[in-house]
C-alpha cells in the first residue's frame, strides 16, 4: 500500500516549486484515501474470517440488512457477524486508532520519534491498575455489594493510566514549565516501578488470577462485547475527535517549545491537553484490550516516511493505519492457531520489535 502511494506521488511532475508543494498535498490526500480503502477492505475480511467462514459479499449484505433492519437478521451467519465479530472489529479499530494516535501525540510532545506511551510508563501504569483489580479485586470489593470485580477492570485501567500520567506530569513540571527530558526519565523509572509491583502481584495471585494476569499483559480483543464497547467507545471517539485541534500546536512544538511560543501557540496549555488525551486514549485502550505494544511507534513512523510529518495529515493517517494494523493483527491472532487464539500483543510485538530495531539501526546509519 505504502509503496503504491509513494510511487504515484513521485510520478507527478514537479516543474516549479509551486507544483512541488501542490504535489505533496495531493500525495497526502491520496495516502489518506488509500488508508480508508485498506481499513474498509480489512474490516470486511475480518468479519468474514474465522471458524464460520463467510464470503465478503455476504458480509456486506448482512451488514446492510442489520443497518436497515430488513431481511435475514437472525440467521446463524448474521448472528456471528453482528453479535460476535462486529463488536470485536469495532473495538479493534478504535483501540488501534487510539494507540497509534497516542504514539504520534507523544512523539510530537517529546520531539522524539522513539517516544511511546509504553515507554514513559503510561501503559504500565494502566496495566498495573488492571492487575491490582484482577488480583485484589475480590478482597477489596465486599461480596455483599454484588459487583463482579472483573467489571471494574476497565475503570481501574483507565484510572491507572490517568494517575501515572498525572504523577509524571507533576514530577516534570516546575513553575509551570514541563521539562521533556525529566518526563522521559521519570517515565522510565515509573515504568520499572510498575513492573516491580506487577511482579509482586503475580507472586501473590492464585492460578486462575495468574492466567488472567498473563492474558491481560499480552493483550487481546477476545473479550469485546457490545456492552464493553458502549463504555469504551465514547472515550476513544472523543479522544480521536479532539486530536486534530492540536495538529498546529504539535507542528510548532517540533521546532522547539520557545519557537512554538514565538509562533503564537499557548504552549503549556497545549502540552497539558496532549498529556490528558494520551492518558485517556491509552487508559481506555488498556481497559478494553490489555497492554498492546508497538502500534504507537510503528504506525506514525512509517507514515512520516510516506505522507510526511505534518500532523494535520499524520494524525488522521495514524488513526487509520493503527486501526487497520490492529484489525489485521487480530485476524492473524485468531486464525493462525485456530481454533485456539494467540494474544494479540504477541503478534504486534512480532511485527513491531524487529521494526523498532530496524529504526534504531537506520538512525545509526547502518541501513539505508
Amino acid at each position: 500500500m505504502s509503496a503504491g502511494v509513494a510511487g504515484s506521488g513521485a510520478s507527478v511532475p514537479a516543474r516549479t516549486p509551486a507544483h512541488a508543494l501542490a504535489a505533496r498535498r495531493a500525495r497526502a490526500r491520496l495516502g489518506l484515501v488509500a488508508l480508508v480503502v485498506l481499513v474498509v477492505a480489512l474490516s470486511i475480511l475480518a468479519l468474514g474470517a474465522g471458524a464460520v467462514a463467510i464470503p465478503p459479499g455476504r458480509v456486506v449484505a448482512i451488514l446492510r440488512d442489520a443497518a436497515t433492519g430488513a431481511g435475514e437478521v437472525a440467521t446463524r451467519d448474521a448472528l456471528v457477524v453482528t453479535g460476535i465479530r462486529l463488536p470485536r472489529l469495532l473495538m479493534g479499530l478504535l483501540v488501534g486508532a487510539a494507540l497509534a494516535v497516542a504514539g504520534a501525540l507523544m512523539q510530537g510532545l517529546f520531539r522524539n520519534p522513539l517516544a511511546d506511551p509504553g515507554l514513559v510508563g503510561v501503559s504500565s501504569g494502566a496495566g498495573l491498575a488492571a492487575g491490582v483489580t484482577i488480583v485484589l479485586g475480590e478482597r477489596l470489593v465486599p461480596a455483599s455489594l454484588g459487583i463482579d470485580p472483573f467489571a471494574l477492570l476497565p475503570i481501574g485501567a483507565f484510572l491507572g493510566g490517568l494517575a501515572s500520567t498525572l504523577v509524571l506530569y507533576a514530577i516534570a513540571t516546575r513553575n509551570g514549565r514541563t521539562s521533556i527530558a525529566t518526563m522521559l526519565l521519570a517515565g522510565i523509572a515509573l515504568g520499572a516501578l510498575a513492573g516491580a509491583a506487577s511482579g509482586v502481584l503475580a507472586y501473590v495471585s492464585d492460578d486462575r488470577q495468574l492466567r488472567d494476569l498473563t492474558f491481560w499483559s499480552l493483550g487481546s480483543l477476545g473479550g469485546a462485547t457490545w456492552a464493553k464497547l458502549a463504555v469504551i467507545a465514547p472515550i476513544l471517539l472523543a479522544t480521536l475527535a479532539a486530536t486534530p485541534i492540536l495538529a498546529r500546536a504539535l507542528n510548532a512544538l517540533v521546532l522547539g517549545e520557545a519557537e512554538a511560543y514565538h509562533l503564537g501557540i499557548a504552549v503549556e496549555r497545549a502540552k497539558a491537553a496532549i498529556v490528558v488525551l494520551v492518558a485517556a486514549a491509552v487508559g481506555a485502550s488498556v481497559a478494553a484490550a490489555g497492554v498492546i505494544g508497538f502500534v504507537g511507534i510503528v504506525v506514525p513512523h512509517l507514515l512520516r516516511l510516506v505522507v510526511g510529518p505534518d500532523h494535520r495529515v499524520l494524525l488522521p493517517a495514524s488513526a487509520l493505519l493503527g486501526a487497520g494494523l490492529l484489525v489485521g493483527a487480530d485476524l492473524v491472532a485468531r486464525t493462525v492457531v485456530a481454533p485456539a487464539e494467540l494474544p494479540i500483543g504477541i503478534v504486534t510485538a512480532a511485527i513491531g520489535a524487529p521494526f523498532f530495531l530496524w529504526l534504531l539501526l537506520r538512525r545509526r546509519g547502518l541501513f539505508p
Binding site: R248, N251, G256, G308
Partner: protein, 273 residues
C-alpha cells in the same frame, strides 16, 4: 518616532544569580537596534525578555503600550517574529513545511494555493526557493539559518494579514545571532533584507557578534557586559576603542572609513599592536 517596545527596569534573576540588571530600553518604528557584547553578557536573556519568552523578575515590557504578559500568545505572534538560534529537527519536515508552520500559529486563514504563494514568497526573500522540497534534517547550518529566516518573514506577513492587512510597522523582528553560520554574501543579504523591513516601518532587534556588521546596519547599538548596559547610542558613539576594550577585554582599535568616516574595528593580536 512611536515606541513599538518599551522596557522599563526589566531585570532577570534565576536561582540568586542576576543575568540582566534593571534595564530601560525602547524600540521605535523603523529602527534597527543591535545588541553586542561578550559571551555570557546577557544578550540572549535580554532578547528573551523582550520577546516575552522569559517573564522578567522585575520591571515590565510593553508592546504598543500594552503589558506583554497581558497579551495572549497568538496576539503577540502577530506583532513580532523571532528567529532564534536554530536547532536540528527530529522529524523530516521539508523547508516549505517549516516556513508554512510560521504561517499557521497566527492566522490559519490562508489555505491551499494562497498559502503556498505566501510560503514561496518568504522562500524567495530568503533566497532558498531551490530548497523548498528539501528535508530540513539534511540542510547545512547556513541553509537552516536561512530557512528559519524565511519562517520569521512568513510569520510577519501572516501577522499583518491577521491584523487586517495593517501597513507594515507596528511589528518587530527579533534576530538572535542570525548570521553565525552564513557566508559573507548571505550575511549581507540577510541583514539587507532585515534593513529593508525596517525601512518599511518595522522595528528590528538583532544580536550580532560582528561589530562591523553592527556598525553597518544598526541605527543604535546597545553594548552589554555582565548583564548591564554599558553603552547605548548610534554606532559612532558606541564603537570606541576605550569602551570596546572594557567590554571585550582585548584591544580592538577603531579606524575610520575613507569617505563616510564611519568607524570600523580591525582586531589585533594582543601585545603585538
Amino acid at each position: 518616532m512611536t515606541a513599538l517596545i518599551e522596557a522599563a527596569d526589566v531585570a532577570y534573576a534565576v536561582s540568586g544569580r542576576t543575568l540582566v540588571h534593571p534595564t530601560d530600553l525602547t524600540l521605535g518604528a523603523g529602527e534597527t537596534l543591535v545588541i553586542v557584547g561578550p559571551n555570557g553578557a546577557g544578550k540572549s536573556t535580554l532578547l528573551k525578555l523582550l520577546t516575552g519568552e522569559l517573564a522578567p523578575s522585575a520591571g515590565r515590557v510593553r508592546y504598543g503600550g500594552r503589558d506583554i504578559r497581558a497579551l495572549p500568545a497568538w496576539r503577540l505572534a502577530a506583532m513580532r517574529a523571532v528567529m532564534a538560534q536554530s536547532e536540528t529537527l527530529a522529524f523530516p519536515f521539508t523547508v516549505a513545511e517549516v516556513v508554512g508552520i510560521g504561517l499557521d500559529g497566527v492566522s490559519g486563514g490562508a489555505r491551499g494555493a494562497a498559502r503556498d504563494a505566501r510560503i514561496l514568497d518568504a522562500l524567495a526573500r530568503a533566497d532558498i526557493v531551490h530548497l523548498a522540497a528539501r528535508d530540513v534534517q539534511t540542510l547545512s547550518g547556513g541553509e537552516r539559518q536561512r530557512a528559519q529566516f524565511a519562517r520569521a518573514l512568513a510569520q510577519l506577513e501572516a501577522g499583518r494579514a491577521a491584523m487586517g492587512d495593517a501597513p507594515r510597522g507596528g511589528q518587530v523582528l527579533f534576530l538572535d545571532e542570525p548570521v553565525s553560520s552564513l557566508d559573507l554574501g548571505h550575511q549581507i543579504a540577510l541583514l539587507e533584507a532585515a534593513r529593508a523591513l525596517a525601512e518599511d516601518g518595522l522595528g528590528v532587534v538583532a544580536v550580532l557578534h560582528d561589530l562591523n556588521l553592527a556598525t553597518l546596519y544598526a541605527d543604535r547599538i546597545v553594548a552589554l557586559a555582565g548583564g548591564r548596559v554599558v553603552a547605548a547610542g548610534p554606532p559612532d558613539r558606541v564603537v570606541d576603542a576605550a569602551l570596546l576594550r572594557d567590554v571585550f577585554a582585548v584591544p580592538l582599535p577603531v579606524h575610520r572609513r575613507a569617505g563616510s568616516g564611519a568607524p570600523f574595528v580591525l582586531p589585533e593580536r594582543p601585545g603585538r599592536g
